[in-house]
């Protein structure tokens, strides 16, 4: 059982609108160290915006973010830079730096942000490449990697920064079905090692096996939350159950 008495991350009443449309409507939750929360729900429900608000890639209109009991001041750029250093982000479409080799994709932030010297940055980067099974690919450019390799590299790049929390925005959605497995294996490995994560995904095996808690988002709100054992129990009438049933049917159709 995870205790939330001293959460590593506290999100309180976060709202965000673009123009006249409200994307996030007063979202709150707490995340404990080592906990894995999985965001599910229909697209357009605000999952991606919520993730990007957590590390202030999208700055919330209102509401509070507290990381390790320190409240983020949105008006201070230094606060935002510090927050983002401590929170890793994995994107659906990888967003690797196209002009850099696999190795340099990892070393660039170690050198520019963490100010490591070149040798130390390369040592660390090789360690992370090895962790995701890409040791022999360090000299290749992103365009020379497969989708699965790209996403594993993106994960290695994020982990090299020693993040307290990892945000994953549909990490397997852009992948060929045959390449999803290798990325899932890496994510499961992170879970085993106790990484604190918030992940938006439609991957049923990640939802039911990894989640400590499911957050079901719809119309910019968290409309349902709880452990998968409760929400996805046989005979449950939860929205999460209905959603996962549809994902399952889809998976069967796809074979």
């Amino acid at each position: 059982m995870i205790t939330t008495t001293n959460p590593i991350l506290r999100i309180h009443n976060i709202s965000k609108s673009f123009g006249s449309s409200t994307i996030l409507n007063s979202v709150s939750f707490e995340l404990a160290k080592g906990e894995i929360k999985v965001l599910i729900g229909p697209s357009g429900g605000g999952k991606s915006t919520l993730l990007q608000c957590i590390n202030c890639l999208v700055v919330p209109d209102s509401g509070e973010i507290e990381l390790e009991s320190e409240r983020v001041d949105y008006s201070r750029k230094q606060d935002l830079y510090k927050l983002r250093q401590k929170i890793g982000m994995i994107f659906q479409d990888f967003n690797l730096f196209d002009h850099l080799t696999a190795l340099d994709n990892i070393t660039i932030a170690l050198r520019k942000v963490k100010k490591l010297d070149k040798k130390e940055a390369m040592r660390r980067a090789r360690l992370e490449l090895d962790q995701v099974g890409l040791s022999d690919k360090e000299a290749l450019y992103p365009a020379q990697l497969s989708g699965g390799q790209k996403q594993r590299l993106a994960i290695a790049r994020a982990l090299a920064m020693d993040p307290k929390i990892l945000l994953l925005d549909e990490p397997t959605s852009a992948l060929d079905p045959t390449l999803i497995g290798e990325v899932i294996a890496v994510i499961k490995g992170l879970a085993v090692n106790g990484m604190t994560m918030i992940m938006a995904t439609h991957q049923i095996s990640l939802i039911s096996n990894l989640a400590d808690q499911i957050l079901f988002m719809e119309d910019g709100r968290i409309v349902e939350q709880g452990p998968p054992a409760a929400l996805l129990a046989a005979g449950s009438t939860s929205k999460s159950q209905g959603f996962c049933d549809r994902l399952n049917e889809l998976a069967e159709v796809e074979g």
Partner: protein, 226 residues
Amino acid sequence: MPNALSAVIDSLPYLLQGSFLTIGIVVSAMFLGLGLGIFMAVGLVYGNRFLRYLLIAYVWIFRGVPVVVLLFLFYFGLFTFLGLKFSAFTAVAIVLGMTTGAYQANIFKGAILSLPQGQLKAARGLGMSDLQAIRSIILPQILRMSIPAWSNEYSIILKDSALAFVIGAPEIMARTQFVASRTYQHLSLYITAGIIYFLLTWAGVIALRKLEQYVRIPGYSHHGNQ
């Protein structure tokens, strides 16, 4: 015809000396334009409203006024007014640099806007400051992309540099006119000048094409692969 030929042969070293000055003007102007262009492109895309309007005004002025007018305006007007004693060479390099800067700004701006948004997001997501992200992630990519357009700019500025003769910089055009007015071999001498300009354009464009290939990212093309 022997007169025409000997006029060309006799004056060739003199004309070629002028081409060093031309190259000097063009290289200085292109690099000044590169610096201005990068700065202005970043300002046009990421700057606040005030900076953007300022830069848009700059681009419009240098796009909308003929180079020869700018040259006179700066050399005889502005520089004198400000008490700056620039040589004709320096004045031409500055005016052409500021002009190509306006065009290069638009080239780089277009390249920045064509980069996937995710590049900046990923850089910020790793904790990079905006300046670090622009310098380490955005610029290396857009500069590569911009080489073909940049080589266009080079050929335009090279030819515009002939205007330097109107304020007395002894470059190719000025020297050709000087010799032609003394020998009356206008046809052969201006053909020679034309050939020199052509060869300089050709050499520069080929060199830039080589550069483009040299810095090309393996497996990557901006024209829709993946």
